[in-house]
């Protein structure tokens, strides 16, 4: 029985579960991983109701993944699942490589732990070092120290998550929508830099809200052919004739 406390996050747990399969990371069974993870989360929730959001987000995503992977082979949805499984496997391999790199680094004779440089460098170079004190890490340290001094009385604030805001999305939509000749999927307006799954979903939400906002202002049209289908955007004044069935109601 594994406890979640020992893990740095969902990916850490998944990697440990994958390593437990005792096969090459290229051939791990994602489906079995998913089942193990979901079982553990279920178990953990029974004990402690409050579980950090990222564990639950991963559980939700894995549930989705599982539903796809269980579909008959050959269907588009099943292929989508296979692709997502490969992305997950690749992320696990990346993390594994980093684990190995960290272990490799730790196994080196580390300065200050296994090997020691001269404890008392001489005056000749002592002055040298004092002038080279103008180094960037030192500067950052000093900056952080200054921040801490002034932050002594400040209230605790949870770490800010960098989220693609509605304002960001509005600016980007306004920039891009004019240049696109045809109905274009909402996803095309997301920022290029792929963030975490959470950030991608946040960007999607912000872009949709921004799109609705612009549609309300008459700058844009939105349509969606089917439930959960792609949401399409178009500049309002030049929409192709006869396409009036946009679904947005503001």
């Amino acid at each position: 029985m594994l406890h979640l406390e020992g893990f740095e996050g969902p990916l850490d747990l998944l990697l440990e579960l994958a390593r437990g399969q005792k096969v090459d990371l290229a051939r791990i069974s994602i489906l079995s991983l998913v089942n193990q993870y979901l079982t553990m989360i279920e178990g953990a929730r029974r004990v402690r109701l409050e579980l950090a959001a990222d564990w639950l987000v991963m559980a939700a995503w894995l549930t989705w993944l599982k539903s796809r992977l269980l579909l008959p082979a050959g269907s588009a949805a099943q292929e989508e699942g296979e692709q997502a499984a490969e992305v997950l496997a690749a992320r696990l391999r990346d993390l594994q490589a980093i684990r190995a790199a960290a272990a490799w680094l730790s196994s080196r004779p580390v300065l200050g732990q296994d090997v020691f440089a001269r404890g008392a460098p001489e005056d000749l170079t002592e002055t040298d070092r004092s002038r080279l004190a103008f180094d960037l890490p030192g500067l950052m340290r000093a900056y952080l120290q200054a921040l801490r001094r002034s932050a002594g009385t400040r209230q605790y604030r949870p770490a800010a998550v960098t989220i693609w805001t509605i304002k960001d999305a509005l600016a980007r939509l306004a920039d891009l929508v004019g240049s696109l000749p045809d109905w274009t999927s909402l996803e095309r307006f997301l920022p290029e830099s792929a963030g975490t799954p959470l950030q991608r979903r946040a960007a999607m939400a912000s872009t949709l809200v921004a799109g609705l906002e612009m549609a309300r202002g008459g700058k844009l049209r939105l349509r969606q052919e089917a439930a959960f289908g792609p949401i399409l955007l178009h500049r309002a004044e030049a929409a192709p004739a006869g396409e009036e069935e946009h679904n947005d109601r503001s």
Partner: protein
């Protein structure tokens, strides 16, 4: 930094002017060796090859001096190491257990910090969000502080992306700390994945 004037201690100008590195006297080589030894010994940080070459008398091959110096210290309690693009004397690794009892030992980096610095080393320049994505866990202020504190990482510009996040890179101190000549000394990613690493830090399993 060429210095055509022979200083009092150096051999006569005619000898040097010939410019044949092979033709230096044993005395001149010994003098260069002492000088190199003193310079590297005195320094707090690795001494760049260029700085050493500048110091040595004209006509002396720095590589030969370094080789002779390395040989002289081979097997001794203190050895000549090539790290972070320079030379540094370091205690022999086999003495570590006994030295740790008497020399102030730096704190080992916690696992999160080791992994973070490994990610930065392999993916630099890299943003905090990218580091977090690879680790699948958020980067704590504590981890960032400890890496900055030890001077292992530094900011290196900003990424042209929303919010212009800071990019992070490793420092020469990172190379020095782990005894690397340069970043190419790091094992290739493929090699890391092939053999199961022995010293794998595995989370507690209960």
């Amino acid at each position: 930094m060429t210095d055509p004037d022979p200083d009092p201690a150096a051999p006569p100008a005619e000898e040097q002017a010939a410019g044949a590195p092979a033709a230096i006297s044993p005395e001149a080589l010994e003098d260069a060796l002492r000088l190199a030894e003193a310079m590297v010994f005195a320094a707090a940080a690795p001494v760049a090859a260029r700085a050493l070459a500048n110091l040595l008398p004209v006509g002396v091959d720095p590589d030969a001096v370094v080789a002779a110096l390395r040989e002289r210290y081979a097997g001794r309690g203190v050895e000549l190491a090539e790290v972070a693009g320079g030379l540094q004397f370091r205690t022999a690794p086999d003495l570590a257990p006994r030295l740790r009892r008497v020399v102030a030992v730096a704190r080992r980096l916690p696992r999160a910090a080791m992994e973070t610095v490994a990610i930065i080393a392999y993916h630099q320049p890299v943003t905090r969000a990218e580091i977090e994505e690879i680790r699948g866990a958020s980067l704590s202020q504590q981890t960032l502080d400890s890496l900055l504190e030890q001077g292992l990482i530094m900011p290196k510009g900003r990424k042209e992306a929303p919010g212009r996040p800071t990019l992070w890179a490793t420092t020469p101190a990172f190379l020095a700390q782990f005894g690397l000549k340069d970043l190419r000394d790091l094992p290739r990613r493929e090699d890391l994945l092939v053999e199961p690493p022995s010293a794998q830090p595995v989370p507690e399993v209960g």
